[in-house]
Each structure stands twice: as structure tokens, then as C-alpha cells.
């Protein structure tokens, strides 16, 4: 036991002390926070700064109302004719000239927009939707609805989703927040298992190619060496994960408060509501505005999600999934002489993980309670990813326990199997290994 501890210690320290680990650990949250900060900043800036002034030349007598100026667009009605307005456009303060000819409400035709620069898609749609609103109001008025009734027509609907827990308690939840967390957790899990599984493999190959392995196995059992390496690297992973969480939270908070003051956050959400209408007709803007949506949602409904449980489940399934896969990686590493030879063995190990990843982020997020989701979160090859994707939506305790038990049995199985291949593989040099060969090793007695 003492020997395993020594091995764990060496595997852990030799990795944590590496420059690349320190750089990765501190740079990654900065990068993540930086990217989010930039997205937030530009989204905010985009909303704030987009301002077009449009000169309107109207020959239209049908529309009684005028286009309404707001933060992002200002309409100025000119009294000159179109030709003159077009000629003076470049010298004027206006960006565009909008021409509204006389048209029937049924068939509004001949509307034109002139500009020194090509009007963007979003501006085009924005103006179109403004005009459409004018026409709709005009039509409503014609059918005898008064202005005051018109104003009353606007209602904001906000659905609060609540989930009834097994205990009967109602929990406020948010589809947005859940899927955001599910995605993040799924991607993180995939990354972690891959990253650290491959590190185990590399470690084994390194010991084999540097020929230290034979010196090592004369002091410790191959199984101890393998487990020491696997556990040591798992601790590196956990350390990195913890540091990332702490650092990301600190830095994100810092970045957000630097780029976007608290006042501004309020403004953004105000803007979001104002623009809700536009967003419907305007996909690109909608994308931008929903950016602010889930983040706001997450803050609001984090209380509804059991964050502690999610983190615990994540850590459990990270460890379980990592142990499950890293044992396989260790077996691969022991069977080859160099990293270039790993290809043929990597594929069968990678496939279920990739499949689990792809299905989890598509099928499972769409239908977290369906049978696909259920089976994916039970089979130990895919359960680490599928379960962390499902967990924010809520998973019955019996399902969670069952999946955990299967995963534990699964990794005991792979560790045992890998141990049998490993002990033979590490002492084989210069031979090209096949699956058949590996199976033979598996059946060897001690």
C-alpha cells in the first residue's frame, strides 16, 4: 500500500510541477473568462452602439402614423423630394434614405432604401418590421380599434417552469439554465476523460520506451504501478478541475464587472425586453439577445438547481468514467512501443466515448427522460457523459444509484482486465501487437 502511495505521489507531483500544467491551469480559465467576457462585451456594445439614422421621404398618405425613433434607429421625416434627398445623402448626417411611396395596405410595394453603404440584413429587417407594424396598426384602426385598445394589446408572457420533485415540492427550474449546464458538463466530461486517459497512456508508453519499467516491476507489482499512475493522474485532473472552477468564477466575476458595470447589466436586460419584438423577426439579433437570456436565467434559477448535487455527481462520474477509460488506455499503452502505434487500438476505445458525447448533446438534451437517455446513462461506456448531461434536468434517485453501481462494476471490470494485459504488455518489446495477441496475454497465468 505504501508503495502505491509513493507512486501516486510521484505521478502527481511530476505532473503538477510541470510548467505546462501551471500554464494550462491558469491560462484556460483566463481564456474561457476572456471569451465569455468578450462575447458579453460585444453583445452589449453591439446593442448599445448600433445606431442608424434614416431619413424618410414619404409620399404616402395611407399611413397616418410615423415610424418611431428608438435607441438603435432614428427616423427623420424630410420635406424634400427623393431625388434631392438622394443627392445630398453623402453630405448629410443621415446614413440612409427610406422612400415610402403611396401604396395600398394590402399590397405595400415600391419601398426603397438608399445608402452610401450597403444596408445590413438586420437593418433591412428592422425597418421592414417597423413598417409592418405601422401597416398592422393602420389596418386595426380601420377595423375600428382605438389607439388606447391598441396599446393595451401588448402583453408580455413569461412562463416560469416548475418541476415537481418526488417529495412533492415544487422547484423552479429553467430549461435554459439546465441545458446550458448540461452542455457545459457534457463537454467538460468528454474533455477530461480524453485528456487524462491519454495522459495515462502516454505515461505507460514513456515508462516502456525509457525501459524504466523493468526496474520498476522488480520493486512493485505491475498492478500497483498501473493503479498508482491512474490514481495519481486522476488527482491531477481533480486538482485542475477545482482550480478551474475557483479561477473561472473569480476571473469571470472580475471580467464581467470590469467590462460591464452593474448599471449596464440592467440596461441590457431592459434592452432585451424592448427588443423582444424585433428579435422575433430578426434571427441574428435574436441570437445576440438570447445570449443575455440564459445567463440571466442561470443566475435566477441556479437556486432552483441543486448545484451541490450536480457538482458531486460530476465528480463521481468523472472519477468513474476516467477510471473506466484510463484502465483501457493503460492497457493500450502497455501493448505498444510508441505512440504512433496506438491508432488501431485507440479507435475502439474512442468510438463509444464519441458516440456517447454526440448522442448526449443531441438526443439526451432534447429528451432527457426518454429511453435513449436512460440506456445511455446506464451503459458504463457512455454513462459518465450521458448522466452529467441528464442530471441538471433531474434524474430519479434509483436511476442515479443504478447507473453509479454499474459504472463502479464497469471500472472494476476494465481495471481488472487492463491489469492482466498490462502486466504482460509492459515487458514485451519490439513486437507488433494485435488484438489476438492481447487476448492471449489476458489468458496468461501470472
Amino acid at each position: 500500500m505504501n508503495k502505491i502511495l509513493l507512486i501516486i505521489q510521484r505521478e502527481y507531483l511530476s505532473r503538477v510541477k510541470k510548467k505546462s500544467f501551471i500554464i494550462m491551469t491558469f491560462l484556460t480559465p483566463l481564456l474561457i473568462a476572456g471569451v465569455y467576457g468578450l462575447i458579453g462585451y460585444f453583445t452589449y456594445k453591439g446593442i448599445k452602439d448600433t445606431h442608424d439614422s434614416v431619413a424618410v421621404v414619404s409620399n404616402n398618405k395611407t399611413l397616418t402614423e410615423q415610424l418611431q425613433t428608438d435607441k438603435n434607429i432614428s427616423y427623420t421625416y424630410l420635406n424634400s423630394d427623393l431625388e434631392k434627398a438622394k443627392k445630398t445623402l453623402n453630405k448629410s448626417d443621415y446614413d440612409y434614405v427610406l422612400y415610402l411611396p403611396e401604396f395600398s395596405l394590402e399590397e405595400p410595394k415600391g419601398i426603397e432604401l438608399f445608402g452610401a453603404k450597403q444596408a445590413g440584413l438586420s437593418l433591412n429587417k428592422r425597418i421592414a418590421s417597423d413598417i409592418e407594424e405601422l401597416i398592422r396598426n393602420q389596418k386595426l384602426k380601420q377595423s375600428g380599434i382605438s389607439q388606447s385598445d391598441l396599446d393595451k394589446l401588448k402583453t408580455d408572457v413569461d412562463i416560469t417552469t416548475k418541476k415537481i420533485a418526488e417529495t412533492g415540492d415544487e422547484q423552479e427550474s429553467s430549461a435554459g439554465a439546465s441545458s446550458f449546464i448540461a452542455f457545459t458538463a457534457g463537454i467538460l466530461m468528454f474533455m477530461f476523460i480524453m485528456l487524462y486517459g491519454v495522459q495515462v497512456m502516454r505515461g505507460v508508453i514513456e515508462e516502456k520506451t525509457s525501459r524504466i519499467i523493468e526496474v520498476m516491476v522488480s520493486s512493485v507489482k505491475p498492478f500497483q504501478l498501473m493503479m498508482g499512475k491512474i490514481i495519481g493522474i486522476a488527482l491531477v485532473g481533480l486538482t485542475q478541475f477545482m482550480l478551474w472552477i475557483v479561477l473561472t468564477l473569480t476571473i469571470s466575476t472580475a471580467v464581467v464587472s470590469i467590462f460591464v458595470g452593474k448599471e449596464d447589466i440592467k440596461k441590457i436586460s431592459a434592452n432585451t425586453q424592448v427588443q423582444g419584438q424585433i428579435a422575433q423577426a430578426n434571427p441574428s439579433m435574436a441570437a445576440a439577445t438570447t445570449q443575455a437570456g440564459p445567463i440571466g436565467d442561470i443566475q435566477k434559477s441556479l437556486a432552483g438547481l441543486d448545484v451541490g448535487k450536480i457538482v458531486c455527481v460530476f465528480i463521481f462520474f468523472f472519477l468513474g468514467g476516467y477510471l473506466f477509460y484510463s484502465a483501457l488506455y493503460a492497457a493500450i499503452g502497455s501493448a505498444v512501443d510508441s505512440e504512433t502505434e496506438t491508432q488501431q487500438f485507440m479507435m475502439p476505445v474512442m468510438m463509444p466515448l464519441l458516440l456517447g458525447y454526440a448522442l448526449s448533446l443531441s438526443v439526451v438534451t432534447n429528451d432527457p427522460y426518454g429511453s435513449t437517455a436512460f440506456w445511455l446513462s446506464m451503459i458504463p461506456f457512455t454513462s459518465p457523459i450521458a448522466m452529467v448531461v441528464r442530471i441538471p434536468y433531474g434524474v430519479a434517485n434509483w436511476e442515479l444509484s443504478l447507473s453509479m453501481i454499474i459504472l463502479v462494476l464497469g471500472f472494476i471490470g476494465t481495471v481488472w482486465m487492463a491489469g492482466r494485459i498490462y502486466r504482460v504488455g509492459i515487458l514485451m518489446y519490439g513486437k507488433k501487437t494485435t488484438f489476438k495477441e492481447m487476448f492471449k496475454w489476458f489468458t496468461y497465468k501470472n
Partner: protein, 302 residues
């Protein structure tokens, strides 16, 4: 001290060791010889508990081999290496701690050995910055640091320049004088004759020869002698000896004689003395190399 009894080791279709037994006495240097693939490494791996035999037993000091013995054995494998990115001092410390040594004791001993083998400044160097010979020295230190009773060296001199090989040879002899038992696995027969007290020869998974080096050589005596005398008197076969070869070098004649059965060198001399002035009489003793080749070739022809 070490007793290997009826070891059998089977790998799928290949039998690596077939009923091999041998005894290594305490304080001796034992040579384990054999061509490539004969099963030497398999046997060593069983003694170092890297693998277990299918049948048969190994006893160390009368006790069946168990995990406790790991700290009493030092093993320098033929395929050996070190962690490339680790510092030398740290690395040797790690390896000796795995053998059950305490940190402080290990540090003390490493300093002693580093001083002794002129490696003092190496503590903080990384393995990748050392030459192959230097790495070999580090590995040797790591092998003997925990003061094992039994030290197994697989081709210990490969990769050493003559100067360092000599240093290591002297260290081996000194450790041996202080009571350590050695097992040498090697192809280099000159080092066998120089160092080993006893040998075992393994070929095709079986032990085909073992015993004290002197006894083995004695048993391979062919009753052949070189005789050198003045003048060019010609000898011919008689009832005492047979003439195998005659060479004339300047004033002297060299003759290779093979004694007839149950005849002694003295009888041959009696035959010669009346005729010639004898300068020299040497028995032709086969080298370990000759014996090795003869034995292995002989078996392979069967």
C-alpha cells in the same frame, strides 16, 4: 542461499523454462549463461517476482519466495532505463524508497555512493542530460543502494567504456567481499572467467550444464598438451601419445600432443626426454567461450 527447484514456465505455445533447478551459494558470484532466447530473462523474472512460475519453487535463505524478499534483491535488467525528465537524485531516492528505504537513510547512502563514483554534481541533473555510460552508473547505484543480499545483474557491462567498466567491476568485487551474492547474466565469457565462481548454462529452456567454473573447465580437459623443444626432431605417434600438430618456429619446434587413454603427462615426458631439450609444457584448457559454444552447438545439432 538461493535455491531454484524444478521451475516450469509456459507462454502459450512456447515453453520458456523446462524443469530448471539451480543452487546459488551465499557470497558467491554466479554466472547465468546461455544464448539469446534460452530462458535466462524468464528465470530472472521469476526470481525477482516479476512473474510467477507455472510450477516449481524458489527459496531464498530457506524461505519460499515472497514479497518481503523484494527489498533483499537488487536487479539491474538488461533493458534498463530511467525517467527522462526526473532529476537524478530524486530518481534514485524514489527507486530506493520503493525498495522500502526511509527517505533520510536513502539520502545519506545516495550521497555516499555519488561521492564514491564521482557523481557528486549530478544530483540536480536530468537524466536526458547524461550520457549513456553516466546513466548506467546511476542505475548501478540504484540497484545496490538498498544493500540487497542478492544482486542480479543482466549484462552489467554493456554500454560502459573500459574505464567505467573497471570501476563497476571493482565495486562488484568489493560488495561481494562484504557478503553480497551476485547472479550475472551475460554473454561476455571473459568476464565470466574473471568474476564467476559458479555457472549454469541454459539452452533451449533447459539447464544443460552447471557447477564451479574450475570444475567445469577441468572436466573439459582433453588431455592435450603443447610441448616446445629445441631443434627439429620429429615425433611420431606411440603408445603414450598421439601427435596432432607440429609447427617449427625458428630454432624451436611446437608440438600438440594428445595423451592416449590412462596415460599421464609424465609418461609423455619420459618418452621425450632422451631425445630433445624441453622448454615448455602447457596443458590445453578450453576457455568458457569454447565450452559455451561446444555445448550449445552440440545441443542444437541434435
Amino acid at each position: 542461499m538461493l535455491s531454484v527447484r524444478n521451475i516450469v514456465k509456459q507462454y502459450a505455445t512456447h515453453r520458456a523454462l523446462d524443469n530448471v533447478s539451480l543452487e546459488v551459494e551465499k557470497g558467491k558470484i554466479f554466472g547465468l549463461l546461455g544464448p539469446n532466447g534460452a530462458g535466462k530473462t524468464s528465470l530472472i523474472r521469476i526470481i525477482t517476482q516479476i512473474t510467477a512460475p507455472d510450477s516449481g519453487d524458489v527459496f531464498l535463505n530457506g524461505e519460499r519466495l515472497n514479497t518481503k524478499h523484494i527489498s533483499q534483491i537488487g536487479y539491474l535488467p538488461e533493458e534498463r532505463g530511467l525517467y527522462k525528465k526526473m532529476e537524478i537524485g530524486e530518481q534514485v531516492l524514489y527507486l530506493s524508497k520503493l525498495k522500502g528505504l526511509h527517505s533520510s537513510e536513502a539520502t545519506k547512502r545516495i550521497r555516499y555512493w555519488f561521492e564514491k563514483l564521482e557523481m557528486k554534481d549530478w544530483w540536480n541533473k536530468k537524466v536526458e542530460d547524461l550520457s549513456k555510460g553516466m546513466q548506467q552508473k546511476v542505475q548501478f547505484v540504484a540497484t545496490v543502494l538498498h544493500q540487497p543480499e542478492l544482486i542480479i545483474l543482466d549484462e552489467p557491462f554493456s554500454g560502459f567504456d573500459p574505464v567505467n567498466a573497471d570501476i563497476i567491476k571493482n565495486e562488484i568485487l568489493e560488495l561481494n567481499k562484504n557478503g553480497a551474492t551476485f547472479i550475472f547474466s551475460t554473454h561476455r565469457m571473459e568476464s565470466v572467467e574473471e568474476l564467476c565462481d559458479n555457472i549454469a548454462l541454459i539452452n533451449k529452456s533447459q539447464k544443460i550444464l552447471d557447477g564451479a567454473v574450475d570444475d567445469i573447465k577441468a572436466s573439459y580437459r582433453s588431455n592435450t598438451y603443447w610441448v616446445e623443444y629445441e631443434g627439429n626432431y620429429t615425433l611420431s605417434n606411440n603408445e603414450v601419445f598421439q601427435v596432432l600438430q607440429t609447427e617449427v618456429v625458428k630454432e624451436h619446434t611446437l608440438v600438440k600432443l594428445k595423451l592416449q587413454e590412462n596415460r599421464t603427462a609424465n609418461e609423455a615426458l619420459i618418452q621425450l626426454l632422451p631425445h630433445v631439450n624441453i622448454h615448455r609444457l602447457d596443458e590445453v584448457i578450453p576457455t568458457m567461450n569454447d565450452i559455451f559454444i561446444e555445448k550449445v552447438k552440440g545441443q542444437n545439432h541434435e
